[in-house]
């Protein structure tokens, strides 16, 4: 058994900050990652982070307005403000850890939001963006790793945590295994920070391939409330190199010649040669592209300017990694504590609803990860300090958790994780399940997912330590699938990246609310959490002003459609 004060699970941006901040409080901190800290998670693929700086002329009200409008009021303004206000300090922290940024004359170069300069057709006005980003230079994850080691954070690489251990209703540690040698270890901790990222359904390529919603799944099983699973982030790819990073398409028209340092987004054309209604260009998750396909206007091509044209195909089983920094474990205070005593959440694991129903600003995910990571680290440290002598962990509970962990290895046969994952992908990856949604199809998918949960998952087997990891990841993906499908079924309207063909309009009366879910008597239940009245859109504004972005098939200027889509 390993003992520590604070256990941090997952070593991306959020986990780094959590570990560093807790360690700076003089505590014994262990950072565990199923990969290798600095090579794991999505952070390493990010190129920038948003930094709010009043001294640079940034206006908080304008930044909040950007999130409101693009996030379609599903954002949490309180968290928006916290993260924006924290961001300058987090930038300073990163610099002090040795991370280098694009600088000029000794100052970090601030760049306007990439979409600010994209020219869109008149019929598809894009909301103004005011947020700004800074770029870090390559090699930053290694710099942070060095810093972590230097200050005495203990790193536990290639160690997959499978379950949180509870003692008397509070988190007292976790159990996991080294993925080489499947050595099971119990880590006793006074507080645990969950920062294991979000997750998809194992798409072909990076960056979400390794992320299987482990954090959400473990916290849910421990009793935490999970939020906003219905929003998706479908990244299209191309049929020629489907494993190519989906980001490729986002910026593939390259840096803008007219605006140095800026990106050009590709234009997207459908089979009829028409430009796809660019509601939000690549940025809004390509629901437009999904809808074009649904309407029978695929194949689509992306015009990359000088780089020619590229055929576009649907997300290769991204199966909706959700928008960063929206869904996840619901925090109950500004320290990112959760309803489970002793458990903190940060980064994509933390369901602050920061970005809302659409990805509302470049660099927001990393800014959110840094802010929530630091807060969770400090909160966990404070709680750990306040605790007296160590309590034990019930041996019977440990034995039971160990048995659950090793069960796939004990089984001689059953179903292989790879096959089950494939079946899950087959069920969820088609565009008509989690992108262009319909109650009938969601219900059908749910039947299959329930069968996988009840009959297949208990019979998963592993022949070695590698497959043991896969088996646990597959179980987590099945749970994540159930969360996504149930949330999608429950939200009977369309909003942001959640599009219901059978409820094609926004419904402010019913749905200015977050969709939560939790375990009750062993069953998953969904419930609404109303958004505070003062954060709702101004009813005096016209529908188009409140919602400048059109939903698929929504005619501009037609006024507010009701949720049943009448009057279209």
């Amino acid at each position: 058994m390993i003992e520590c004060d604070v256990l941090v699970i997952g070593g991306g941006m959020a986990g780094w900050f959590a570990a560093i901040k807790a360690r700076e409080q003089g505590l014994n901190v262990l950072l565990a990652d199923k990969g290798y800290v600095s090579k794991s998670g999505e952070t390493i693929y990010a190129g920038d982070t948003a930094v709010f700086d009043p001294d640079a002329g940034n206006d908080l009200a304008a930044w909040l307005e950007q999130v409101d409008v693009i996030g379609e009021y599903m954002n949490n303004r309180h968290w928006n403000e916290l993260v924006f206000r924290d961001s300058r300090e987090r930038l300073a922290d990163l610099r002090s850890y040795g991370v280098q940024f694009e600088e000029k004359d000794g100052r970090v170069v601030r760049l306007p939001h990439p979409h600010a300069n994209i020219v869109l057709p008149d019929t598809h006005k894009f909301p103004p963006t005011v947020s700004e980003v800074v770029h870090w230079l390559p090699g930053f994850p290694e710099k942070v790793r060095k810093h972590l080691i230097k200050i005495g954070v203990k790193l536990k690489d290639r160690f997959m945590v499978t379950e949180l251990l509870l003692q008397d209703g509070r988190v007292a540690g976790a159990i996991g295994f080294s993925i080489e040698g499947n050595r099971v270890e119990v880590i006793k901790a006074k507080a645990v920070v969950m920062s294991a990222g979000g997750g998809g359904f194992r798409p072909v390529g990076y960056p979400t391939h390794e992320l299987t919603a482990d954090g959400h799944a473990m916290a849910y099983r421990a009793g935490a409330t999970i939020t906003s699973k219905e929003f998706v982030s479908p990244h299209s790819t191309n049929p020629k190199d489907p494993a190519w990073p989906p980001m490729y398409l986002f910026f593939s028209a390259g840096h803008s010649a007219a605006q140095p340092g800026m990106y050009s987004a590709p234009h997207l054309f459908n089979a009829e040669g028409d430009e796809v209604a660019a509601r939000g260009v690549a940025w809004h998750g390509w629901i437009d592209a999904e809808y074009e396909a649904h309407e029978g206007r695929a194949p689509l091509i992306a015009d990359l300017g000088k780089r020619g044209v590229l055929p576009v195909s649907g997300p290769g089983g991204h199966g909706s990694m959700f928008g960063h920094a929206t869904g996840g474990i619901v925090p109950v205070n500004d320290d990112c504590a959760t309803e489970v005593p002793g458990l903190y959440a940060a980064g994509d694991s933390c369901g602050t609803c920061f970005i809302g129903a659409n990805y509302s600003g470049f660099g927001f995910a990393t800014a959110h990860a840094a802010a929530t990571g630091a807060r969770a680290g400090l909160g966990a440290a404070a709680e750990a300090k306040g605790l007296g002598a160590d309590g034990g962990i019930d041996e019977k509970a440990v034995a039971a958790a160990t048995a659950r962990l090793l069960e796939p290895l004990e089984r001689k046969g059953g179903f292989t994780p790879n096959w089950v994952t494939q079946v899950l992908q087959n069920t969820l990856a088609p565009y008509f399940v989690l992108y262009v949604k319909h109650g009938d199809r969601l219900q059908a998918a749910l039947s299959t997912v329930e069968f996988l949960r009840d009959h297949i998952a208990p019979k998963l087997y592993a022949r070695d330590d590698h497959e043991l990891r896969l088996a646990h990841e597959t179980k987590n993906m099945i749970l994540n699938a159930e969360m996504k499908v149930r949330s999608s079924l429950a939200r009977t309207e369309s909003r942001g990246t959640h599009y219901r063909e059978d409820f094609p309009g926004r419904n402010d009366e019913e749905w200015l609310a977050w969709m939560r879910l939790k375990q009750e008597d062993g069953r998953m239940v969904t419930f609404k959490q109303p958004i505070p009245a003062e954060w709702r859109p101004d009813a005096a504004k016209s529908y188009e002003e409140r919602y400048p972005m059109r939903l698929p098939n929504e005619v501009p200027g037609s006024g507010a459609p009701n949720a049943a889509g009448e009057g279209r």
Partner: protein, 73 residues
Amino acid sequence: MTIEKIDLDLCTGCGICIDSCPMDVIRMDRAGQKAVIRYPQECMNCEQCALDCPEEAVTVTPYKTVPLISSWG
């Protein structure tokens, strides 16, 4: 995967393999001189083309790659 190759040095362009294929995988080239693998996705590995080819010009293996799933295509 499945049909791998038609050896153009050996192929005499007799067209037997085209008739042998129930899946329309093989066609004659534009000049009508040689058989070419046109639609390999549809190969079902029955090996009739290889077994019928008088020149043993066709190579078929029992391995087939499953197409990657995409959400539309």
